[in-house]
Symmetry: C2
Amino acid sequence: MYYAGVDIGGKNIKMGIVDDFGSVVYSMTYKTQYERGYDAILLELISNVKQMCSEAGFDFEELCGIGIGVPGIVNSGAGLVMSCANLNWKGVDLAGDVTNLTGRPCRVCNDANCAALGEQRFGSGKNFKNIVFITLGTGIGSGIIIDGKLFEGLGCAGAEAGHMGIMVESEDKCRCGNKGCWEDYISAQAFVAQTEAAIRQNPNGILADICKDGISGKSAFIAAKQGDTVAKGVIDKYIGYVTYGLISLTNILHPQAFVLGGGIANEGATLILPIKSMLNDYIDNNGFYPYVDVVGASLGNDAGFMGAAALVM
Amino acid sequence: MYYAGVDIGGKNIKMGIVDDFGSVVYSMTYKTQYERGYDAILLELISNVKQMCSEAGFDFEELCGIGIGVPGIVNSGAGLVMSCANLNWKGVDLAGDVTNLTGRPCRVCNDANCAALGEQRFGSGKNFKNIVFITLGTGIGSGIIIDGKLFEGLGCAGAEAGHMGIMVESEDKCRCGNKGCWEDYISAQAFVAQTEAAIRQNPNGILADICKDGISGKSAFIAAKQGDTVAKGVIDKYIGYVTYGLISLTNILHPQAFVLGGGIANEGATLILPIKSMLNDYIDNNGFYPYVDVVGASLGNDAGFMGAAALVM
């Protein structure tokens, strides 16, 4: 059986047809052009899903359902997008509209939750029924899977681990209104700021040299590979911040595994092994609690639409 | 139908017979005397449960089951007490032993989880299916109820919200091996230390006067009622610490309500109303997420055995 998954982003819409085994039989990506407004995006989305079915060689009527991930506040039970700043949507009945226009079942969910579900069903998390997925990207996305099912909290307002507070004495307000949020320490933006601060204090080393023409989330990793101790210090501190939050999530949820995605997680073992080791050293302290795995996400940008498809499986 | 609930503490064992409606038809409390060792405690426990049935006027054979809360690390799925420092138990098959000796079904769980279940079934949380229960006592106990069921995490190692880290730059190690744990800011012990620190800085005020003969978790509340601004400052800061953790838990779990128990929560509205208001001011920030209630626990020391009884309902 076939399912359509759609991942609506601020810039691109990625969609695919997925079968029960998680094989992507067809996929496509196109520009969101959010300025067009909701109706135009909706109609093109439906037309493209129909086209994918035809390209994949089956009738649209055979499609079992359409799942959609949206980068905003979504009430997935009601199928409503409450608010999506990137697309300028507010209170739209996306699931209802898709079903009315197509006759196919539709479910809508927050995009990070979709990606979490995608990784748990078809990616790095597929050996586990209980995972927490964290994206180390521009912002911090997160998703919680308990017993193989998305856990979203009341009004789908949970699973926002990026806004866990990790620094109660901080004076810096987060965009969410809290202070000292995890996101403000572990987002790609925060990591770049930490790299910049290290360069200001050490303006003549390898790291400063590498960043002469611009700093990115990769700069410190490149410098560290060249033996730069300043860069290594930046990375170690960052790893400490990530692990500190994972320890909290372990104490609250104790999942089987954390799946780390997003740009910075692409650094792979350099980043993930020390986090896994610090986390499990902590867990070992009391000697009775089970080991928690830490793995990199494996589906990349496909996690979102694959998880969206899983919403209707 | 009747169920026995047992709450084993380091000092006292409290037990009762509870019916399906949460009415306690008989209860008793006696000294644990943990030095006697596991076997003696086990045999007396069974004998007392039998006695309660007889006092309550029904045959022990009619008892539907026995639930037991233990202050330690419990694998509730297996019925094993992995470790309990207060009782000096390690790896005992409590549920198996009770069932073998009595023929009645038995389930065992961590005591804070039992108390959480008790409050959700029969206490302040009974209007909610999703709560987080926090005890502001000597240590911080916590329990998570999702869809009316205890959530314990892998190996029952979750629901330890007291060891959420809220101060990543802290140098103070917690007993768990982490640093800057929530418990170290909001336990009764921490609150007393915060009161002491305020007195050292203000040795001549009302608060200092009240504490001349000893400080407790109540001292600051007594002084604040007399208009002391130093004490009010201590309480405000403490309320900030509590709320900071509740904000994190809201972002992760978004329950319908937090139920606060333990000694400090006995201060009632003085403590709970400002926490509720701060938490919901934060939630209101984004305008789409649902209100979270904050209520005081209502079962006091009975929550543990009542929740233990609920384990076998």
